[in-house]
Symmetry: C2
Subunit: 193 residues, 2 copies
Amino acid sequence: MQALRSYIDQYTSTTISDADFAQILAAFVVKKLRKRQYLLQEGEVCKYYAFVEKGALRQYTVDDKGTEHIVHFAVENWWTGDRESFIMLTPSRYNIDALEDSQLLLITQAGLQHLLSQVPSFSLMVRELDQRNYIATQKRLHSSISHTAQERYEELMRIHPDFLQRFPQHMLASYLGISPETLSRLRQKVFRE
Amino acid sequence: MQALRSYIDQYTSTTISDADFAQILAAFVVKKLRKRQYLLQEGEVCKYYAFVEKGALRQYTVDDKGTEHIVHFAVENWWTGDRESFIMLTPSRYNIDALEDSQLLLITQAGLQHLLSQVPSFSLMVRELDQRNYIATQKRLHSSISHTAQERYEELMRIHPDFLQRFPQHMLASYLGISPETLSRLRQKVFRE
DNA sequence: TCTTTTCGTTGACATTTAACAAGAAGCGTC
DNA sequence: GACGCTTCTTGTTAAATGTCAACGAAAAGA
């Protein structure tokens, strides 16, 4: 719980009141997920947006050939969920599952709307969050359009060194949009240089 | 001006009051840009976020080899600007220039903050906008990670058929992250199929 | 109108990456 | 500790894509 409070304080650059935080907390439910359990499966509507208190999850699609494509990792103090499905109530294309035993705080669309209209600092936090998400996603998009696979791997090393320790390489490859074999060969090359 | 008003009504699912709209309009200035003129150049801080009333612009980087990488096209009723630079006041990596003679509505960071705190419907509109941007960018990212160049081109045909008419092919290639030659060959193949 | 620039296509070749297959090392589970 | 599963690596071959160069058509500018 404390994690969410620090998070809000940090991203709103304020100190939230106990009353406000109590109201926020009331809109969330705690959910524990064991490794390999799903938060969302393809075809379902995403009913919950989740704040990660502990653990790690991945958001990915599976194509016709059975290959997984990871669009997003969520670790402590990150959010996860399929925003499009959550808002539009459309079936999701994504799967989200736990890579480690995890503890999440879940909020429904109704709960979110309630907080947005009632708690200004929460509203502010969501705006910051969206901005950051948008900027981060745009950066990754730019990277994937204009950089080589090797450059993208080196960028990942710089920006998320923790990911390299925490997730298996074939998942990092999927996240970068390359095959596990290519990543393996790239690593040798980067290492030699 | 009317374009912005319709846009806000549409994305907030409300009808905005004359008073609110007058306040919103007061925060913007009209700017005309002729083809090839810049709204933003690499290294500058992005001082204005822009709503496109008429015309078309592109947001892109130029790499060491002089190759351009287009991350975003903005046409009528779209927004453009480097969000990161605009918020953080950091020098931008991007160039934004007009592909046609264009008319824009510009707003400064101060103007934006003022409206966000004073006009709830504007605030709502910005939230919707951010959400849509985030979702759209995430979709493109997913596409660029998990689809082939040909699939991405076909997707572009489906989602933005107007782009194919409006922008030269080498820019579409840049937007897709492939070389102009590859796009030319892809088109033949798609056409044959 | 004439000239210049931009644009799209095509060919030849190089480079990057994927696909498939095999094997070894590490890990968890029973 | 034995087994099975996951992970990572390596080799080989094929496919996709980039690069360089040339050409002609179209568009823009003078």
